[in-house]
């Protein structure tokens, strides 16, 4: 101890006790504690060894300890030795005198963290956007039709589950017998001429959304909102033909295989947080890219051919687009999902024009897609 006499506020003399664990042996050493104002430092003295000096500024207290009647201290430099203080008075004084008791240890290895962060992002990106799509496209070519069918049915179930409003059941599939017959007749009329590897099944989902989907294995789903928005059966036929174009090109199968590949990787990233389902679903929707422009153009071309062969006007689709676009511009509302999907491809105008030109391929006069009573049945399929 220094023998200098201090003038003014003199720090209270401190005599305390603790237990030192020196970090080399597990034997606890009782030590007496004092503060050397020259430094200032905590002096740990024991009879059988020389004193140790722990600068007050370097004292750190372990966080989140269960026993609040006890203070476990270490120094900022040395990670191994520990000082356990139980006396209330010693704890009070140390808490008051040590200036950085709760300072966090410095962050080390930031560079390595950044490097591995970049590696992880690159790896995941390469998998999801490059390797998985590449392999999915290859594998889709070799998948037998029965396998595709199973995949399609499962996907339909997932979509029905996700779109169900209560969140627990499956969204209803409309099954009015007369409406079903009308839809089947329309589908058959289009597919009679097409050489598809599987039977096509068209279903209507009871949802107020202007949209249509093709699923693997020849399953085409129309939403009730789309049938209500169509003014003529020819418009429904045109949408159906477009989706059949995707079916013929196996676009949905590729998409479903891509999803299967990326779901596991995303599950990996999100960990046990929130069980993953909702976040997984949302994220999955985000990365599920729309079909490429080439795929859409291919489906259009295929649809034009199919419609012309069945004696239907390809431009019916253009009529519907135009009307929806006008309605949307009129009431300033958000564009319906369907149109937004199509509009996301910048060539919507081109596609409308192409549909109109394709009418030229129609030999002879166009025929009605459905008889008036069948069209009524189709429109009330969800009742």
């Amino acid at each position: 101890m220094t023998a200098v006499l201090r003038v003014g506020a003199k720090p209270e003399p401190f005599r305390g006790a603790g237990v030192l664990l020196d970090g080399t042996s597990p034997v606890p050493r009782p030590v007496s504690l004092a503060i050397d104002e020259d430094g200032p430092a905590l002096i740990l003295s024991r009879p059988d060894a020389s004193d140790e000096r722990w600068p007050l500024a370097a004292l750190r207290q372990l966080r989140d300890q269960a026993d609040r009647e006890e203070m476990v201290l270490r120094t900022a430099e040395d990670d191994d030795a520990r000082l356990v203080v139980r006396e209330a008075e010693s704890r009070r004084i140390l808490a008051a005198r040590a200036p950085a008791l709760h300072r966090r240890p410095p962050v080390t290895g930031t560079r390595r963290l950044i490097l591995w962060g970049a590696a992880a992002i690159l790896s995941v990106a390469a998998i999801i956007w490059y390797l998985v799509p590449l392999m999915a496209d290859q594998l889709a070519e070799y998948l037998p039709p029965e396998g595709e069918r199973v995949l399609g049915e499962r996907t339909l179930e997932q979509i029905r589950g996700a779109l169900d409003e209560t969140g627990f059941g499956l969204l209803r599939l409309c099954d009015d017998p007369a409406g079903d017959r009308a839809l089947a007749a329309l589908t058959a009329r289009l597919t009679d001429e097409a050489a598809l590897p599987y039977d096509v099944t068209a279903r209507v989902l009871d949802l107020d959304m202007v949209n249509a989907l093709a699923l693997p294995g020849g399953i085409v789903v129309l939403f009730r909102g789309l049938i209500e928005a169509a003014e003529t059966p020819e418009e429904v036929a045109a949408v159906l033909a477009h989706e059949l174009g995707h079916v013929a090109a196996r676009d949905p199968t590729r998409m479903a295989l891509r999803t299967a590949g990326s779901v596991g990787v995303l599950g990996l990233l999100l960990g046990d947080f929130a069980g993953g389902t909702v976040v997984l679903f949302l994220t999955e929707r985000l990365i599920r890219a729309e079909y490429s422009r080439a795929a859409e153009a291919g489906a259009d071309a295929y649809a034009h051919g199919l419609l012309a062969e069945a004696g239907l006007r390809p431009s019916a689709l253009a009529d519907m687009f135009d009307r929806l676009r006008a309605e949307q511009a009129g009431d300033g509302a958000e564009p319906p999902g369907f149109l937004r999907h199509f509009a996301s491809h910048p060539a919507l105008g081109d596609r409308i024009a192409a549909a109109r030109t394709a009418d030229a391929a129609l030999s002879g006069p166009s025929r009605a897609a459905l008889a008036a009573e069948d069209w009524r049945a189709l429109r009330s399929i969800c009742q």
């Binding site: 042996s25 030795a81 590696a119 995941v124 960990g271």
Partner: protein, 395 residues
């Protein structure tokens, strides 16, 4: 030093509850990133509440090293899981015409990694655990562990569970024989057959349940099924009994030089924790959802007098705009998640830790004086693989 060291337990359920609640909410708000901090801080608490010989265990793991380990694991596993899932899905669809097969096989595909990850996790936790200033450690050997674990599991499945005690013993021996406290090596002595009595109640419970089901189907008497009211708790007891008794026998057969252990956890106590804990968790979750229902009813009705509005709640909810439904679904979902997490800590993990800690003793303690510190184990991958694959216990 005394001959026998008792273990004290100093944790408090209330403080743990507030910690777990705060951390879980932060975890949701940070989209799961806080989980590395959450795990670190909760482990500090759990570890420090266990005090063999009156001095606390210390957990020295750091959050950022967990994040680093996770990033390393993701970098490698993304390739494996992305490609393996895709190929398995393809094979399952084209060969079995079924995709359930794919989920089953893709699980099989990660099994070696799961055991590997479990061992790495243990190695990391050991390297970050100290008692009386000295580090624990687990020697490398994760792949050896993975292959052994797979072999033992196959044997266990092929023998309808009869060889489960054998697996428990040999895997514990593999881990224990590689465990060090300072420079002192632990050893698992004993034979696997000493664990066999532990599984008897579980086997009897299974036979009882099977008999109930068979009889009720055979006789077409539905009432016989009520026998399951007895049978299912019996199974839970069987599991509690197995876990407790194997822990006791294995711990008492561990040695480290002249140092030994005594453990006296009680199967009925563990059974009570299981049953009471799950009941309380379920009740709390139900209470939460009833409260949510009331709040929504009040919101729609303006006041709670018109309680009839609860009946039409589904109708009213259906009428909400899509964004409001999405927000509501997320709120409910995350709340359920937070609740589950916090209540599991408070009603299951905490009482189990307390019971197993309080009934543990260290014998031959004077021999500790000769032990010295061991070098640090960087364990750079931390528990990243376990984190990514979601392997591991409650903490």
């Amino acid at each position: 030093m005394e001959e026998v060291l008792d273990t004290e337990f100093r944790g408090r359920r209330g403080r743990l509850f507030w910690m777990a609640l705060r951390f879980s909410i932060l975890n949701v708000l940070t989209l799961g990133l806080y989980r590395f901090w959450m795990k670190t801080r909760l482990r500090r608490y759990y570890w420090s509440s266990v005090r063999p010989g009156g001095l606390p265990l210390e957990y020295t793991g750091r959050p950022l090293e967990k994040l680093l380990g996770f990033l390393i694991a993701v970098t490698f596993l993304a390739f494996y899981i992305g490609l393996v899932n895709l190929v398995l899905m393809f094979l399952s669809l084209s060969l079995l015409n079924h995709d359930y097969g794919a989920y089953a096989i893709s699980f099989v595909g990660v099994i070696p990694f799961i055991f590997y990850a479990a061992y790495r996790r243990r190695r990391y936790m050991m390297a970050r655990t100290r008692w009386r200033g000295l580090r624990f450690g687990l020697a490398p050997g994760a792949w050896g562990y993975a292959w052994r674990a797979i072999g033992h599991w196959l044997l266990t499945i092929l023998t309808a569970g009869l060889l489960w005690p054998r697996m428990t013993f040999w895997l514990e021996k593999y881990r224990t024989d590689r465990t060090h406290y300072g420079n002192l090596r632990l050893e698992q002595t004993g034979r696997w057959t000493m664990l066999f009595p532990a599984i008897v109640p579980l086997i009897l419970g299974l036979l009882f349940c099977a008999a109930v089901i068979v009889v009720s189907i055979w006789q077409e008497e539905r009432q016989v099924m009520t026998g399951l009211v007895l049978g299912l708790p019996w199974l839970v007891y069987g599991l509690a009994h197995y876990r407790t008794v194997t822990f006791r026998r294995l711990t008492e057969a561990k040695t480290a030089g002249a140092i030994g252990f005594r453990a006296a956890p009680r199967p009925w106590r563990v059974f009570r924790i299981y049953m009471l804990g799950t009941t309380l968790i379920v009740l709390a979750v139900l209470a939460f959802f009833s409260l949510l229902g009331l709040v929504l009813a009040a919101f729609f009705a303006g006041n709670l007098d018109e309680l009839g509005v609860i009946a039409e709640l589904p109708e009213r909810l259906r009428g909400l705009p899509t964004w409001a439904k999405a927000v509501l679904a997320l709120v409910v979902y995350f709340n359920a998640f937070v609740f589950w997490d916090v209540l599991t800590h408070v009603f299951l993990t905490f009482p189990l830790w307390r019971h197993f800690a309080e009934t543990l003793q260290v014998t031959g303690a004077p021999a500790l004086a000769a032990v010295r510190q061991r070098p640090r184990d960087a364990a750079q991958e931390a528990e990243g693989f376990a984190e990514a694959l979601d392997v591991g216990a409650a903490i």
